[in-house]
C-alpha cells in the first residue's frame, strides 16, 4: 500500500468505507504475518542477533504512517520491521536484511535493528534506546531549513523517555518549534514495558504525554489499538506539524503480544493472563470487525488478505534464503565516503 499524500488523506467520517481502510487492514495483516515468520526464522537460526517484533502494536505504525505524505521521513528504534513495511519497503528486501544478505535493505550490514530504506522515507532503525531522537529532531530542522514542507515522524518506546539524550532532544525541539523550525511528530509507543520493567517502575510520572508537555510540546494520548482512533489523531497532528513547524506528540497506548525480543521466553514480569487479556484488543481484529460491521467487509475478503499476506511472506523468506551473502569486500565499504 502506497502512502497517501497529505492532501488526499481521507478524514474518518467523510470516507469511513474508502478503499484506503481495506488497504490498511491488508498492511497490518502483512506485518503480523511477517513478524510471525521472523520469529520462526529466528528459531530456525536463519536470523541472528536480536529480534524485536511488533505484533500487537500494528495500528500505531499503520495509523500514523498512512497519514503521511510520500516525502515525509520516519525514524524509530530497533523494533522497526513494521515501520519499514508500512512505508513501502519491499518485504523481500526486509527479510533479506534479517537473513544478512546482500539484497537486504541495508545490504545485510544492519540487520533487524538497523533497517533503512531512504528511498521510501525510512531513516532507520537504531539500537541505542532513545539515541535516534536527537537525530530526528535535527532532521526536522534540516527539512524546514531547506524550505520544504516535509515533516519527520519519530517513534520511541516508553522506556526510551528516561534516557538523557531524549530530554535534550525534546527541549531543543520545543525551542526550535517556537520559531517554526521543528516539524516533527513524536510517537510514544507506550506498550507498558521497557523490556521487563513496567512504566510504573521506570517512570516517576506515569502520564507520559504530560512529561512531554514539560518541553512546551503539545501532547495527547490515543488508543493505539484502534486504527481509526490513532489515525484520527494523526491526521490532525500531521496537518498541524506541517503547518506550524512545531513538534507534536502522540502517546499511543498499546501492548506488545510477543516477548521483548526473541530471547524473552519466560516473561517473568507479566502474567499469561495479562497478555491474553490484551489480546482481546488485537488491533487487527478491531479494524476487521469495524470494517465488516460498517462497510460490509466479508470473511472471504479477509481470507484473501490473509492468503495474500501468507504468500508474500513466504516469497520474502524464499527470496531471503536464496539470496547471496554480501561480498567479502563489502566489509570495508561504507565506513567512510569513498
Amino acid at each position: 500500500m502506497a502512502r497517501q499524500k497529505q492532501e488526499a488523506s481521507a478524514t474518518l467520517d467523510q470516507a469511513a468505507c474508502a478503499p484506503e481502510w481495506t488497504d490498511i487492514l491488508r498492511q497490518m495483516i502483512l506485518i503480523r504475518r511477517f513478524e510471525e515468520a521472523t520469529e520462526r526464522e529466528f528459531r530456525r537460526g536463519k536470523i541472528g542477533g536480536y529480534l524485536h517484533v511488533y505484533s500487537g502494536q500494528e495500528a500505531v505504525v499503520s495509523g500514523v504512517i498512512s497519514a503521511l505524505g510520500k516525502d515525509d521521513a520516519v525514524f524509530t528504534g530497533y523494533r522497526d520491521h513494521a515501520h519499514a513495511l508500512a512505508l513501502g519497503a519491499d518485504p523481500k528486501r526486509v527479510m533479506a536484511e534479517l537473513f544478512g544478505k546482500a539484497a537486504g535493505v541495508s545490504k545485510g550490514k544492519g540487520g533487524s535493528m538497523h533497517l533503512f530504506d531512504v528511498e521510501h522515507g525510512f531513516y532507520g532503525g537504531y539500537g541505542i534506546v532513545g539515541g535516534h531522537v536527537t537525530l530526528a529532531a535535527g532532521a526536522a530542522y534540516a527539512l524546514r531549513y531547506r524550505g520544504t514542507d516535509r515533516i519527520v515522524v519519530c517513534y520511541f518506546g516508553d522506556g526510551a523517555m528516561n534516557i538523557g539524550s531524549f530530554h535534550e532532544a525534546m527541549n531543543m525541539a520545543g525551542l526550535w518549534g517556537k520559531d517554526g523550525m521543528c516539524p516533527i511528530l513524536f510517537i510514544i509507543e507506550n506498550n507498558g514495558y521497557a523490556m521487563g520493567t513496567s512504566v510504573e517502575r521506570h517512570s516517576a510520572l506515569t502520564d507520559l504525554a504530560a512529561r512531554v508537555r514539560a518541553y512546551n510540546i503539545q501532547a495527547e494520548k490515543a488508543d493505539g489499538q484502534d486504527l481509526f482512533a490513532i489515525r484520527g489523531v494523526a491526521d490532525r497532528a500531521v496537518r498541524q506539524v506541517r503547518e506550524s513547524g512545531k513538534p507534536y506528540c502522540i502517546e499511543a497506548v498499546t501492548y506488545r503480544f510477543s516477548g521483548h525480543g526473541a530471547a524473552d521466553i519466560l516473561q517473568p514480569y507479566r502474567s499469561k493472563d495479562e497478555v491474553e487479556e490484551h489480546k482481546h484488543r488485537d488491533p487487527i481484529v478491531i479494524l476487521r470487525t469495524r470494517l465488516s460491521e460498517m462497510c460490509g467487509l466479508g470473511d472471504n475478503d479477509v481470507k484473501k488478505m490473509e492468503d495474500e499476506a501468507a504468500q508474500r511472506v513466504a516469497e520474502a523468506v524464499k527470496f531471503a534464503e536464496e539470496s547471496p551473502a554480501p561480498e567479502p569486500d563489502e566489509l570495508y565499504r561504507d565506513v567512510v565516503a569513498e
Binding site: 541472528g48 542477533g49 536480536y50 536484511e97 544478512g100 544478505k101 546482500a102 541495508s106 545485510g108 550490514k109 544492519g110 540487520g111 535493528m113 538497523h114 537504531y126 539500537g127 541505542i128 534506546v129 532513545g130 522506556g159 526510551a160 528516561n162 534516557i163 538523557g164 539524550s165 521497557a194 523490556m195 521487563g196 520493567t197 517502575r201 521506570h202 517512570s203 530471547a263 519466560l266 517473568p268 514480569y269 551473502a325 554480501p326 567479502p328 563489502e330 566489509l331 570495508y332 565506513v335
Partner: protein, 328 residues
C-alpha cells in the same frame, strides 16, 4: 575448587560479597524482576530485596552517576550495564566524575564502585552492540580496568574490585559466559589487580592477551605446538589498568618474539600500548617487531559472513606467530 562457568563465577562473586558486606548493592536495567538479560542476577532480587537489587530505568548516566554518589557515601554499588556498549552513554559520569572525584577533592572521598557488563562481538549484534572498550577506558587515570579470561579470574578480580576503594570497569566477555573452569571455593579468594600471569609456558614466542582473546590465543598455542612445533608462551594480562607487562617482558627476553592479541579495532587499540611498552622495555631482545592481531577496522557488520571476516580468529594468531618467527 569447583567447576564453574564464567557466568556463575561472576554471580558467586557478587553474592558472596553481598552476603559479606551489607554496603554492597547492585543496580542495573532488568536485573531484578526480569532476572538479567544474561541471567547473572537471577534470583538475587528475591534473596536481597529491592533496596539492594535496584531495577533502574534506561538511564546509564543515571546509573553510573548515582553509583558514584553512593560510593562517596560508603556504599559499594555494582552497576550492571546490560552490555558495555550502553555505558558510552555514561562516559561523562565515568570518565569525568568517577575517575576524577578522588583527585580533585584532594583525596577526601573514596569511590568504591564497579561497572560491569558483557562486551565483544560474535553473535551478529552489528555495529552498536559488538564493541570492546579496553583502550577506551584504560587511557584514563583514576579508574581501574579488568578483563578476565577465565572463570577463576572473573571471580577473583570481581571480588577485588568490589572490596576496593576505586571505580573499576569490569569488562566481561559475553562469549565466555558459558565457559567452565576450576574456581577456588574459599570465600576470601581474590585476584589482585595489576598482576599478569603466564597462562601457558613456552620458549619460542610470547603471545600477550586477555579476556576472550586469551582463550583464543591458548587454542592457537596448542595448534602451533601440534602443527608447527612452536611452543608459545601465553601471557594473560587480567587487568589493563593497572597494566603489568613484567611477565610479558620477561617472556620476550627469552623468546625474542611477541604477538599482542585484541578483539577490537587496531588503530589506537590496546595492542598498540602493549606493543609499544614491550618494545620500549625489551627492544634489544626482540628479533622481530611485535605483531598485533586485531579485529578489522570497520563498524561491526550484521551479516554472518562479514562478521566472521571482521573478527580475529585462531588462524590470525597462528599466522602472526609465524611471521614474527620468519616462518611465513
Amino acid at each position: 575448587m569447583a567447576e564453574k562457568s564464567y557466568r556463575d563465577a561472576i554471580r558467586d562473586a557478587m553474592m558472596e560479597e553481598m552476603d559479606r558486606d551489607p554496603n554492597v548493592l547492585i543496580m542495573g536495567e532488568d536485573i531484578g524482576v526480569y532476572e538479567g538479560t544474561f541471567r547473572i542476577t537471577a534470583g538475587m532480587l528475591k534473596k536481597y530485596g529491592p533496596k539492594r537489587v535496584i531495577d533502574t530505568p534506561i538511564a546509564e548516566a543515571g546509573m553510573a552517576g548515582t553509583a558514584v554518589g553512593m560510593a562517596m557515601f560508603g556504599l559499594r554499588p555494582v552497576v550492571e550495564m546490560m552490555t558495555m556498549n550502553f555505558a558510552i552513554v555514561a562516559a561523562d559520569q565515568i570518565l569525568n566524575h568517577a575517575a576524577k572525584v578522588r583527585y580533585f577533592s584532594g583525596g577526601q572521598v573514596d569511590v568504591p564502585m564497579v561497572i560491569r557488563g558483557p562486551q565483544g562481538a560474535g553473535v551478529q549484534l552489528s555495529a552498536q552492540h559488538s564493541q570492546s572498550f579496553e583502550s577506551f577506558y584504560a587511557h584514563f587515570p583514576g579508574i581501574k580496568v579488568a578483563a578476565p579470561g577465565t572463570p577463576a579470574d572473573a571471580k577473583g578480580l570481581l571480588k577485588t574490585a568490589i572490596r576496593g576503594r576505586d571505580p573499576v570497569i569490569f569488562l566481561e566477555s559475553a562469549a565466555l559466559y558459558g565457559m567452565k573452569g576450576q574456581v577456588p571455593d574459599d570465600p576470601d579468594f581474590t585476584v589482585p589487580f595489576g598482576q599478569s600471569r603466564v597462562a601457558r609456558e613456552g620458549t619460542d614466542v610470547t603471545i600477550v592477551s586477555y579476556s576472550r582473546m586469551l582463550q583464543m590465543s591458548l587454542q592457537a598455542a596448542e595448534r602451533l605446538s601440534k602443527e608447527e612445533s612452536i611452543e608459545a608462551e601465553v601471557i594473560d594480562l587480567r587487568t589493563l589498568r593497572p597494566l603489568d607487562l613484567e611477565p610479558a617482558i620477561e617472556s620476550v627476553r627469552k623468546t625474542h618474539r611477541c604477538v599482542a592479541v585484541q578483539e577490537q579495532w587496531k588503530p589506537f587499540g590496546a595492542a598498540a600500548e602493549i606493543a609499544a611498552s614491550i618494545t620500549e622495555a625489551a627492544f634489544d631482545d626482540l628479533d622481530a617487531p611485535v605483531e598485533r592481531v586485531t579485529g578489522e577496522d570497520v563498524p561491526m557488520p550484521y551479516a554472518r559472513n562479514l562478521e566472521l571476516l571482521a573478527t580475529p580468529h585462531e588462524e590470525h594468531v597462528i599466522e602472526a606467530v609465524k611471521r614474527v618467527m620468519y616462518r611465513s
